[in-house]
Symmetry: C2
């Protein structure tokens, strides 16, 4: 008998509320027969939604939460005032060892604030970062931070680089993932002091990191590196810019392919191929941002996703558990700290 | 008889060198019978290239420049050491009143440093910004800064907002262009202090600016606002991310449409429609970034463009002249300064 995994779900998060979440859990449960779910939220509502999914209901336990975090709650307010919310109770269950990960489609800022407060950061990490993976011309890459840290210094960027590298190696299964820092040019003299200092540290480190150097915005889609490191302001803008551009492109393609009967005929014939493209670029397949650096696994789903996308976010949580991501991060950070210390000593000893 | 316009061209800039530039000038000259060109660079080489374009040769004057700015020249080094370069001489000709604008496909940093040094900034402007327009789901928008100013305070962002608005009104011909500041969320509390303070100033100002508030990365492609204001680091990353995503999408589309004979047949039938899309999204049609805020018009062409793209950058220069962009900026800045002063006085008088 293999061990079963328990995942905690904030059933009240997301723009569509518990109906979308419960259906997503049912989809994930159908794929993972070794997983149990703790669902937090309005009990009567969730139980009634589960009626439609008897197979999933058999692996779900519903825990009543009286309160809900709202999308416009400020993080500090949610942290102080929403201790009885579905989001908070779901995070608490990871802290208490009842579940191995928490997945929520609720308010990102509140989720990060609560998760940081309850779970704490891993040793050596000042600030957790939000990371996601996305398709590129080459394969898939990871980018972090995507908005948890608006202002970052060199030290934060170095920590993100280490966490991102561990993620790419353990979860994406890449042997020697390459790491780049996002900048306005690839030459050493380009950029602000944070990126220049972080690049200098990563060039000198004895960590087994394959540091590529600086990359530019167009390297994101090209897949020039496996891990893109940036501050939360730039990363958030870059990710959303890419999403917006993809949406613009898709719309423009749809428009021209319906602009005449000849175009529609061509599109009909090419439909299987166009569907492949649609599947490849389906944003739901990349749903599920990871909060890396916490002493516990926390996944943020897009608030506007559907059940298919939410099920994917659950899969991301499962992958992080299966690959013991936090053990690997802990190990690499103790190496980083030993490395930094020996660097300082060797500088002092010169 | 209408007045003729003279444009100065750095014939040595760009990855392809003078052959691309001269052909681009010929294409622009064919469209603009009222324009003369001053071409700066290696005289013998340029004259020989002009032999192929006798009509263009008739409106071109070649001025010999012994030196060339290299792509990896640091701006400060180019500024001090390349006074005899084609780039510098072309800029000097605008300062001297011989030409109404300068267009170069050379080293961006060197071009900005030289243009700022030679032409100076307009009254009230601390730092010139790089701006470009680009296609959106709605129509066309302008974004600035794209990399001239890596670190910006609130005051710089406000100046960019005013310059961008003037540009959208005068050159894009929009009646009441809306202006947004790029941020990681649309709520007032989001972002760093620079964007929050700049938003507060733009909300309070009596300038005739339609300030939309904050926008996010996906609003760029959506065309939510006509003018997107951001610091040079974020703007550079966002623009290149959009370019990279578009390239990735185009490549993925080409791949699926050649993946089977059925797909190829569909693509063949839909070809006229797909060509429309290609034309709409052709980056050469958006080539030509403007250095706004200088006391003279300076246009930077992509270094990797072809003659068609370079001809477009020349058109951008022509448009800025035709719409007296700098007179409008000057006028709005004296209003802004009066406005700031009266705001200070009313605060002091409270």
């Amino acid at each position: 008998m293999t061990a079963r995994t328990t995942l905690s779900i904030d059933a009240m998060g997301g723009d569509e509320g518990p109906a979308m979440v419960v259906e997503g859990v049912a989809m994930a449960a159908a794929k993972r027969s070794d997983t149990d779910f703790l669902l937090f939220g309005k009990k009567a509502q969730i139980v009634s939604l589960l009626d439609k999914f008897p197979d999933a209901a058999a692996v779900c336990t519903v825990r009543h939460a009286e309160d809900v975090v709202l999308n416009d709650d400020k993080p500090a307010v949610a942290l102080r005032g929403r201790r009885g919310s579905s989001m908070r109770m779901a995070i608490d269950s990871v802290k208490d060892g009842e579940a191995a990960a928490v997945i929520s489609a609720g308010n990102t800022g509140a989720l990060m604030a609560m998760a940081k407060f309850v779970l704490k950061t891993l040793p050596g990490i000042d600030r957790p970062a939000i990371a996601t993976f996305f398709p590129t011309q080459r394969s898939e890459s990871v980018m972090l931070d995507l908005g948890a840290n608006i202002e970052c210094d060199a030290n934060h960027l170095v920590q993100f680089a280490v966490m991102g590298e561990v993620f790419a190696r353990n979860v994406l299964g890449l042997k020697e993932p390459s790491v780049g820092i996002l900048n306005v040019g690839v030459e050493d003299l380009k950029g602000n002091s944070a990126v220049k200092e972080a690049a200098a540290v990563l060039q000198d480190t004895h960590l087994p990191i394959k540091f590529h150097g600086f990359v530019e915005g167009d390297d994101i889609g090209a897949g020039t590196v496996d891990v893109i490191v940036t501050d939360g302001f730039t990363g958030n803008v870059a990710l959303k810019t890419a999403e917006g551009t993809a949406k613009f492109f898709s719309q423009a393609l749809r428009d021209v392919l319906t602009s005449s009967s000849r175009a529609s005929l061509g599109a009909l014939i090419a439909k299987p191929a166009l569907n492949q493209l649609k599947i490849k670029l389906d944003p739901r397949r990349y749903n599920g941002a990871m909060f890396l650096g916490l002493n516990g696994i926390c996944i943020k789903s897009h608030g506007g996703t559907d059940a298919f996308g939410f099920a994917h976010a659950i899969e991301v949580g499962y992958d992080l558990i299966a690959n013991s991501i936090n053990d690997s991060i802990k190990q690499d950070f103790s190496q980083l700290q030993a490395d930094m210390l020996s660097n300082k000593q060797s500088i002092a000893g010169q």
